[in-house]
């Protein structure tokens, strides 16, 4: 465990390693412009990033590829609900309901 002053130095460096990527182009502004083709490609960044964060949580269990797990079942319910209804709270209620029922109720 890093302790005392060194811990605070570590935290400050992690903070810097967060602020610099976040601020990079916003702070540099028009002095640094990405090429138009790259700009267009970047429109796909949010969808790709979201999927890259979601998919491993739904499909990987204890380090291995395991599609038969309660989180994927709950995820499919969330997908259906989000496609079918526009209510923003419903996916949370349905998804958590299914997951808790499968895990705590059926012991999956």
């Amino acid at each position: 465990m890093i302790e005392g002053v060194w811990l605070w130095i570590t935290l400050l460096l992690i903070a810097a390693a967060t602020v610099v990527p976040r601020g990079s182009f916003i702070v540099l502004g028009s002095r640094a412009r990405l090429p138009a083709a790259l700009q267009r490609a970047l429109r796909y960044a949010p969808a790709a990033a979201l999927a890259a964060l979601i998919a491993p949580d739904l499909l990987v269990d204890a380090g291995g590829f395991a599609p038969a797990n309660p989180k994927l079942a709950a995820g499919i319910v969330v997908l259906v609900v989000a496609l079918r209804w526009r209510n923003p709270w419903l996916p949370f209620i349905a998804g958590m309901g299914v997951l808790v029922m499968l895990r705590n109720g059926l012991g999956w």
Partner: protein, 234 residues
Amino acid sequence: MNDSFKRGAAEGVRRMLPLSVGLIPWALVTGVAMRSSGMSAVEATGMNLLVFAGTAQLGTLPLIASGAPLWLIVLTALALNLRFVIFSAAMAPSFEGQSWARRLSSSYLLVDTVFIICAEPMKRSDDPEWRWGCFLGPALWAWLVWQVFGLAGVLGADAIPQGWSLEFMATIALMVMLVPMTQVRAMLVAAVAGGLGAVLLRDMPLRLGVIAGIAIGIAAGFAAEHWVGRARAR
């Protein structure tokens, strides 16, 4: 604080409100995890205020706990935060003409959900005050939710029930954001490729698999856009 700033802020916060639910379990989990890695309540709260990035905080905790070298910790944090360079570049045109102070504070406040909420509406507006409101409103709201529930996690580290899988709410929130985007064919291709890439490359060190998955998804979406465009032209 003029009218268009307020209207922008109202629009941003309205979009943010349902999704900020997904921040609650993340903040709680991060608060608890910092304490259980050996930090004091003051140190954990300090990390929440200084870093303000769930992924980077959770990713560096095991390294801090095991006393890893400083350069490795910083490099890991950078790798986990690389996606923000992409977000920052995508949003930069919307911050054109804003003051130095506003752009610097945006660098601290830009988190994933805010990017997903704000990027499109900010791009569509040509009123700089509206754009600033549309960013600052939801960004400050996300910051407040994160700090309040992070602190709750820090202070109540031992009392939170662990059997209810509350961390899954974060994944649900991400899915709720993703679904409307995938109505466009090329976006769907980007999402499927990005998801599969991240799953297949999950064993890469430093969680680089997520970044690789994002790159694969972007490339696939871009390629799909070209392909669809050419098919139409024919």
